[in-house]
Amino acid sequence: MPQFADPRNAQPRADNFSVGITIFIIGLGKKTLLADTLAPYANALFAAPGEPTLLVAWGGVLAYAFQLYFDFSGYSDMAIGLSRMFGVHLPLNFNSPYKSRNIVEFWRRWHMTLSRFLRDYLYIPLGGNRHGAARAKVNLMVTMLLGGLWHGASWNFVLWGGLHGAYLVLAHVWQVLKARLGWQGGSRAGAFVAWALTFIAVAYAWVFFRAADLPSALRIVAGMSGQYGVALPDAIGARLGGLHEALASLGIKWTLGGATQFIETWCWVAVAALVAFWAPNTQQIMHRFEPALDHDGTAAPARLAWLPAPRQALATGMLAVFCLLALSRPSEFLYFQF
């Protein structure tokens, strides 16, 4: 770590502190305001999946997909920010992975340090793509299976890794096929379909990553695929007027209770989706100040690009206050010291 030996880092510097604390607060916001808020809605599905209907299954799985992303990228931001306060630049770990338009791009943006480790210490030593296309795909599959196992000793993780291995193999086959057909793509509709397909594939795989056991995972996947039908809480149906009958004629069923949970789940999923799909990420916001070791300094500044200015100080300060207030949610109650 030559950065530790850098004499410029021997003294505290205001620029490092201001950049570092801002990155840290953004990460804390991701963790406490988004991930922790989404957790109960994901847990509600995965703790007792039963035979979930389409929207219930997707609501819980999307809540988990966003919870995991904001949790992990929030922690990564906090680590990057803390190090930066002391002048140390850490590598990026997330780069808006849910904006990816194919699974290869997803793995370049998700848990980037692990992806690099798997590439350098598994895929390349296995031979990489040096022994032909077929062997490269086998190597890819083995790497992802072992990468899945790296997350925990469970068949669910192996399945998750296997699914991603299969996705990657399919993506490479598709790219070869596309090149042979001379299809350029590039249309906005095509880009949207590519993004949606990638995100849906990733969401399906998360079910195996999170579910307690394989039967639960398979029931949730069945629910996401519509095997248990589509249902809405009757409290929502009662407020739909004439639409109620129209939806019923389409085969949508009405369930007793659960309206609050259903609406809250989808509202928070919508908020998280807006942030994940639309908002610039931390390194884009902090673009002007080299937020990470492998930051692309040539990219254009993003919306909401940060400057050490009074308006940003107020916004970051308010975000920090919201984060501090959200910290009270864990089960400790300081007032009552038994």
């Binding site: 205001a14 200015a309 009074p310 207030l325 007032y335």
Partner: protein, 184 residues
């Protein structure tokens, strides 16, 4: 970007956090949602409190301690929403410790805790259900939690309000009242 601008940013960030926390603290003390501070209690401003979602028992016990109550209403939701501790019948110094969804074990725990603080209740009014709808047929209530014997020197008389049939059966309760005296 000069170092001065970063220093100014850090100073303003610290001030914004401090101001935000002071603002929140002020609003919490004024609204007093858990009835813990009692600085202002004005109808139309903060007299009505929301039902807390967490730490309900702890909040109630802290409130009872702060107000120095010596008469206690304990039991489940019927006591919590059905008895007014400010009723002139009780003559003041009463506090409603009733908690929706709880049973007699929680009430005994509350009274034991207050006793450990040196609070000697002069009167305890307990709402008791003799049918636990949460138990399976044939299951005994004691299997979930061991019964706690009344402590010596508990001089309080338990006025129990019996309800039959239980709430789960969606029938209006019959008016019935009895007094149960615990071992001294």
């Amino acid at each position: 970007m000069s170092n001065d601008s970063h220093l100014r940013y850090l100073r303003k960030l610290g001030l914004a956090v401090l101001a935000g926390l002071l603002l929140v603290a002020g609003v919490v003390v004024l609204a007093d949602p858990y009835g813990l501070y009692g600085v202002v209690r004005r109808p139309g401003l903060n007299a009505e409190k929301p039902v807390p979602q967490h730490f309900r028992n702890e909040i109630k016990l802290a409130g009872a301690q702060r107000l120095g109550a010596i008469q206690f209403l304990v039991g489940n939701s019927r006591v919590e929403v059905g008895f007014d501790p400010d009723s002139p019948v009780l003559g003041g110094d009463a506090y409603n410790l009733g908690l929706a969804g709880t049973g007699i074990m929680v009430a005994v725990g509350q009274l034991r805790y207050l006793r450990s603080l040196g609070i000697r209740p002069s009167r305890v009014i307990a709402g008791v259900d003799f049918h636990d709808a949460l138990l399976a047929p044939g299951q005994r209530g004691g299997a979930r939690q061991p019964p706690v014997a009344a402590q010596p020197n508990w001089a309080g008389a338990w006025k129990a309000c019996f309800h039959w049939p239980p709430y789960a059966m969606r029938q209006p309760p019959l008016p019935c009242r009895a007094t149960v005296r615990l071992r001294p």
